[in-house]
Symmetry: C2
Subunit: 892 residues, 2 copies
């Protein structure tokens, strides 16, 4: 078996044999690019090593020795040579990019003898010894597992001793001494003396790469990513080149197109007499790529040729690392480059026009997640700022404004023309007017489905929730944040106080809170945005609807391409100035009082429905009958208690508070998520659903008379048992029939249910006998399938779970295929077994998550529904899913 | 097709054709018993009627006419005859007993002419007209759907007019007039004049029976019971006989053995010159069956012969209704008779000894549910009492005692030698000492899994929970109950106040609260109890374990036959005098403080475990690591708030209350059921589980050294993801290994998990890679599968759901096969697919429910686990399941 392959022997399709990095280096070599020569030890060698209980396979080191001889001959240098030593880098390279594996050892081949050759050759003793001490440090830490702090501490001690602040101020002599110190650390900690023989160094490094394949982090990562344990890793051994050998050397990074704007023009940074890390570190000021032509005209021309060749070869914008060593250009690495959303769209459209790629590929080139950048204001990427606190990224986009602590104050300030950030411990329906007035919302409590988060996303207002470092004092109208700062090794607590009217900036996409104004850019979706989404619509089969409760949200979503409403939550229609009527209904002690309140609600609900059906005319509108428990429409327990305590202290009565407290106690629940909500409430308060059905059907009749095309789907929430569905479907049909009789006009409508409990999914066949459609409420389904209440686990448990790798991603962000997805699939199969044309959709938060949209496509749902600002993303994700399912397309 | 069968043409195996009642009447006729003759219209006729859109099939009425002629010839009387009319009853009779169907029409055949013949024949005009008016009333109401109130009102009016209090005081003339009034009501309400032609009466009645098959209640019932809609019902037409034709007539009910004690001797009641309903109504004082020999020696002898014959024929105790008409005995009905638990056991054992049945059948003759009667004190069945209020039957058995309102008062009173009933709004861990001291527990709030209910069941103490009519005033130490009383048609509210020290009686089996002392009988399980359970053990394959947290509960359960502990909840070990240590752990601000608290807990937990392992020596003991959320170990929010308000009012501070409030807020959850509990808590507080594992393994080592045989199974609660299980299993094994090293001794143990979330069931194959056993926590599994929090739905929603027939039985009482059962089955299949010897059990409340035990047997679990007092029941239910699965046995 052959274990070692020179770069020219491989190609980009051999990543299972050579690893991703090795295959790529081979590809460039094959293209004739000036890649520093080297060889790759295959994954077969790693597998043999593992199978032999961590013993290098017979013949491997002989093959390595042969490859090394060839390399030495090729380069005209010898590893460990006293005069002109060959130095190499050793890198791991698995078939899939994998954190937790051995990274890189540079400058391998240095020892006490060859370092002198390097010093002489470069005429730079300091450079040579600095390279040497870095090699010993890197090798000790990465290959021999010596704690890295020990080296850092020794360096620190030396700097203190020499009274210098930067290590660049240390002399060649100092660094020479440091090599000795480092070697002593290695001998003490690793129990072996530092290997001076470069071939022995190489053997150590190869074994270290193989061992790292079975390191704890690598294993956890493979488990999460479902990468087989027996793939093994390759090892790349490559000649070192140096861009810091003088003014005839340099290094840089180049992009074949502008990664920020997408413009079709070379782009990049360049530094003369420097190493790669200097460009990245940003210590020295780089020059633009064009300026390179002044210093190195030939290399510049050669680089532009390479760039053109690579872009045509990869049919995509490439990101290239290069080094010029004494006037000679080397290409160290290339890969498809990262880009902004705007650039991705522009490149996709232009490359399609250039016949570099076809429409299918153009659509696949834009990542759905990126589109958010184009739909919400963002902090200017050039701005620098100091983050005061971090919370949950509850609603994307950036906002700047003055802080106000009550909804009333926020509304008043906005009326004065101020930009407002509403800051609250958490929000409730009573804060709605302040939330509407605000540019951004910041809360110190609550998770990604807290009231603040859900409402903000629906309105497209940036929001951060659960920023628990904020101590909000509502009485003083200020919040404070304590931060630990370490200055000169001394920790201290810095307390920042932000009072009413102070300006802050929040980034709802990242959860960052900043004091003062951060420049914000508001992107405008441009031509390519519409073109790519148009192409996407041609490929996808999954429909995209929106979750919208109000006419203007519906209108906005329709502009974004929504093909109907998948979830119209009627509870939002119970808020604001209707709240007193709703409370009257809850507090009603007689049927007559309850009927009066319901009649008042009928009026306002009907007009809401008319507006929504008008905005979505000709498209389906799924209206969910009231879902939340009634106590959500009452003031908070603490607040009412506070009123009663006050009344008690003042020796007066507060009968209204007493009544509210009675109602709160009556409707109080230990676990409201699993309590009297959804259709359970509908069954306990039959008048409520009848009123809602009447309002909706009357609205549809009004729209039809006005020449519209209302497409009504009535959704029963939280069904668990087929009998519930039968009972309520009967009520709906009875009430609709009465409206038709009263009005003398009929409209078509469907009656279906929200599948949001595990049981509903399991007995879907029984429920589908009555239900004409299912909409999967995957938020609740996830909560019940996992037994995770979002309110409770998101802040406390989830970070720990993600940190420990118990979960790869929160199941509330990405639909859990193993559990929740399985239920969705069963429900689909069982439901369609009795009703083949059962309409199926998803209306949880997952409707706006690309991976979840993929799942919905794969499992065969009819549509996903998401908040208005996620509609473009879902359209693109649905196209990706369809394209990936049918395999790669033909390319031009 | 033949539609009509004379009684002598059928037999007991033809219930699908003739219905249950018809098959039984045919069987008795075939046995030669003196059954009043008649015929049965088959279910085929009903099916034909339904298929022909509610039209009687061709030829049916001709066949009926022929059968009638035969009957008339047989009886020597004619239907509608003016002189000697034949009267018949018409009854429905479906293959399965079914409420909601047409019941019975008696005396069919009476009209204005034949009533005179009846009067003359019986020489009793009043009897004849009373029979006639009853017939018109019954026919009007049942056959013609006239509201029954109208007849009752008319009767009432007449009685007022005649100024009599009882209808027996009305004269023949009055009754004659009433017939006219009733007929007028029928004509007005039903729109048809009352049919005078008896054959027309019969046709109406037959159609009414057929129609009632598709009545709403009957349909709902069939749906719930999964009885096919197309079975149809039969109609029985039978000659009337009268026990009230004079002193040579009579009627009675007889049992072949004593249904109360099981004694093998005839038993029954008898009334001369009376109708069947007079015996049942209890207006006249009946004579014992033996006394019948004095009046009717021949009939008595004949009856005893019939009883012997029926018991041998049915091989069971029979319940017989008979009538003597003018010296002639008729058997009207027989069925296998109901009996008490004690009687069932005695009959089963004695019939086996008499070779009437075999052991299999003997075991099947005792219903598991009945055993509860024998394990707990009961109200004396002869006692009469007035029920003050009803609550949930939280823990079975009856108790009498003096009321105390705090745990301390209860404990003090018990120490003085008083019998105590502890009355609390609800209980918490802090009330435990009072609960232990009490004979019975009564709460006004909380459901069947509230703290009070769970603890009481575990201790075998009678308890009623959620008796929400009780308004408890803890300050005044009294409770009041308002009841509406209607006296002479006037409603008034009667308020009963029960103060400290007053005597009340509670029946935890029925939920009844009674003021004063109700005589209580304490049954003693006798010989037959042990014999039948012993036989049961021989048949069952399902093991029965117990849920026990304390050594003496384990001991008790072992006496009841438990074969191990399926669930030892360690949280109960955190209560009582350990609570301060637990609170110290929760409040700990430093690791050192937390470690100190954990060390203290280690000591007490270890000694608990030693006791439990000793009590269950040689049998498996499954110990669940701590499951509930931490806030359950803190005082209630209201209480701490109260302390702080008090401190505020008095202008002083209460730092402890402040600290507790902080902790409460830290651990407060919106939905604790779906929050940080189970292994989530274990992962967040690693020291806790390590302490518990150490305590348990050290206890096992101690037991092993003492010569015991500890069989430890460590259970991780609330697993959702395989990675959780892997992480925690690792911790358990690491800690156990440390103990083994410290102690120099090893013990075997298993590590498994509680499957109590839908996801754990779905991904059971992934979890079973690490878990060595699954215990299904079906309480939580039901809560999450349905999305029903017991605390919230049991009192409010469930009664409505049961009432409306949306659910047949609460899924918390009987395992829901369609949803939860499906998950259990999937988990079994998937789990065993990767670990064929995966041990499977159930440890929710369902482990003590017979139907659920059946399910566990069918699905192939290894064991069920239930509270100690349910163990005998589960043993018997498991035997029933095994016997029913293998089909009927041979009988002697």
């Amino acid at each position: 078996m052959k274990y070692v392959y020179a770069f020219h022997e491989g190609g980009k399709d051999q990543k299972y044999l050579l690893g991703g990095k090795g295959a790529n280096l081979a590809e460039m070599t094959k293209l004739g690019l000036p890649v520093p020569p080297g060889f790759t030890i295959s994954t077969d060698a790693c597998k043999a090593y593992m199978n032999a209980a961590d013993t290098l396979p017979d013949g491997l080191m002989e093959e390595v020795a042969d490859a090394l001889v060839t390399l030495e001959e090729n380069m005209g240098k010898r590893l460990g040579d006293d005069a002109d030593p060959l130095l190499v880098s050793v890198r791991s390279g698995a078939p899939f990019s994998m954190p937790g594996m051995m990274d890189t050892v540079l400058n391998l081949g240095l020892n006490d003898a060859s370092v002198k050759g390097l010093a002489k050759l470069t005429d730079n003793e300091r450079f040579a010894y600095d390279s040497y001490r870095r090699f010993v440090q890197m090798f000790g830490k990465i290959v021999l597992d010596v704690p890295g702090d020990l080296f850092e501490d020794a360096l620190q001690d030396l700097m203190e001793d020499r009274d210098v602040a930067l290590d660049t101020a240390l002399s060649a002599e100092d660094l020479h001494g440091l090599v000795g110190t480092f070697k002593a650390i290695v001998a003490r900690e690793a129990g072996v003396s530092f290997p001076d023989d470069p071939r022995e160094q190489l053997r150590y490094a190869i074994e270290a790469v193989f061992k790292s394949w079975n390191g704890d982090r690598a294993k956890v990562y493979r488990k999460m990513e479902k990468i087989p344990d027996d793939l093994g890793t390759a090892v790349n051994v490559q000649t070192m080149v140096f861009g810091n050998k003088g003014d005839d050397s340099g290094t840089g990074v180049a992009f074949t197109r502008n990664p920020s704007t997408g413009e079709n023009a070379p782009y990049g940074d360049f530094l003369a007499n420097a190493q790669g890390e200097d460009v990245v570190a940003g210590i020295r000021i780089t020059e633009p790529l064009g300026a390179m032509g002044n210093h190195f005209p030939e290399c510049h021309t050669q680089l532009l040729d390479v760039m053109g060749l690579l872009e045509r070869h990869y049919r995509d914008m490439c990101d290239i690392e290069f080094t010029i060593e004494q006037g000679r250009l080397f290409i160290l690495q290339t890969r498809v480059g990262k880009r902004t959303a705007a650039a991705a769209l522009r490149m996709a459209v232009e490359m399609e026009q250039e016949d570099l790629i076809d429409q299918r590929e153009a659509v696949l080139r834009v990542q759905p997640e990126q589109l958010d950048q184009l739909l919400h204001p963002q902090f200017d990427s050039d701005a620098s700022y100091d983050v005061l606190a971090k919370g949950l990224n509850a609603s994307p986009g950036a906002a700047v404004g003055q802080v106000y602590f009550t909804a009333d104050d926020a509304e008043a300030a906005a009326a004065r023309g101020e930009r407002v950030i509403l800051v609250r411990p958490e929000t409730s329906p009573e804060d709605l007017h302040g939330m509407i007035a605000a540019e951004g919302i910041l809360t110190s409590r609550g998770g990604l489905v807290s009231h603040a988060a859900v409402v903000a996303r629906g309105m497209g207002t940036p929001a951060i929730c659960g920023a628990d470092a904020l101590r909000i004092d509502l009485a003083k109208k200020e919040f404070t944040v304590d931060r630990e700062q370490i200055v000169c090794g001394v920790a201290s607590i810095v307390t920042t106080t932000v009072g009413e009217g102070a300006v802050i900036s929040i980034n709802g996409s990242t959860g960052e809170v900043v004091v003062g104004e951060v420049p914000v850019v508001t992107p405008e979706p441009t031509g390519p945005f519409g073109i790519v989404l148009g192409w996407a619509d041609g490929f996808r089969t999954l429909k995209v609807r929106t979750n919208a409760d109000l006419p203007h949200d519906a209108q906005k979503a329709r502009e974004f391409g929504a093909e109907g409403i998948g979830l119209c939550r009627t509870e939002h229609m119970f808020l604001g100035d209707r709240l007193p009527i709703v409370q009257a209904m809850i507090l009603a002690e007689t049927d007559a009082a309850e009927d009066r309140a319901l009649a008042a609600l009928l009026e306002v609900q009907r007009s809401d429905f008319v507006g929504i059906l008008e905005a979505m005319d000709g498209l389906p509108v799924t209206v969910r009958l009231l879902d939340p428990p009634l106590h959500e429409f009452l003031p908070r327990h603490d607040e009412v208690l506070g009123r009663r305590v006050n009344a008690f202290i003042q020796g007066v009565g507060d009968p209204e508070a007493d009544e509210l407290m009675q109602a709160l106690k009556r409707w109080e629940e230990a676990n409201p998520m699993l309590g009297t909500r959804g259709c359970r409430l509908g069954i306990l308060k039959p008048g409520l659903y009848k009123m809602q059905v009447r309002a909706l059907i009357e609205a549809a009749v009004i729209r039809k008379r006005a020449g519209g095309d209302p497409q009504v789907e009535i959704m029963i929430p939280l069904t668990v048992i087929d009998t519930e569905m039968e009972l309520l479907e009967g009520w709906v049909r009875d009430e609709a029939a009465k409206v038709f009789e009263d009005q003398g006009t009929e409209v078509d409508y469907l009656v279906g249910t929200m599948v949001e409990t595990p049981r509903a999914a399991i007995v879907a066949d029984e429920i589908a006998r009555t239900a004409e459609f299912f909409s999967f409420g995957t938020n609740d389904l996830t909560q019940m399938t996992f037994g995770f209440s979002r309110d409770d686990v998101e802040g406390r448990m989830m970070p720990e779970y993600l940190e420990r790798g118990l979960l790869k991603v929160s199941p509330f962000e990405q639909l859990d295929r193993g559990g929740v997805g399985q239920l969705v699939e069963w429900a689909k199969e069982r439901g369609r077994s009795v009703r083949p044309d059962l309409k199926l959709g998803i209306c949880g938060e997952h409707g706006g998550d690309p991976a979840s949209v993929h799942f919905c496509h794969e499992v065969g749902l009819d549509y996903v529904s998401c908040s208005p600002y996620r509609v473009p993303l879902a359209r693109l994700a649905a196209a990706h899913a369809a394209l990936e399912a049918t395999g790669p397309g033909t390319t031009a």
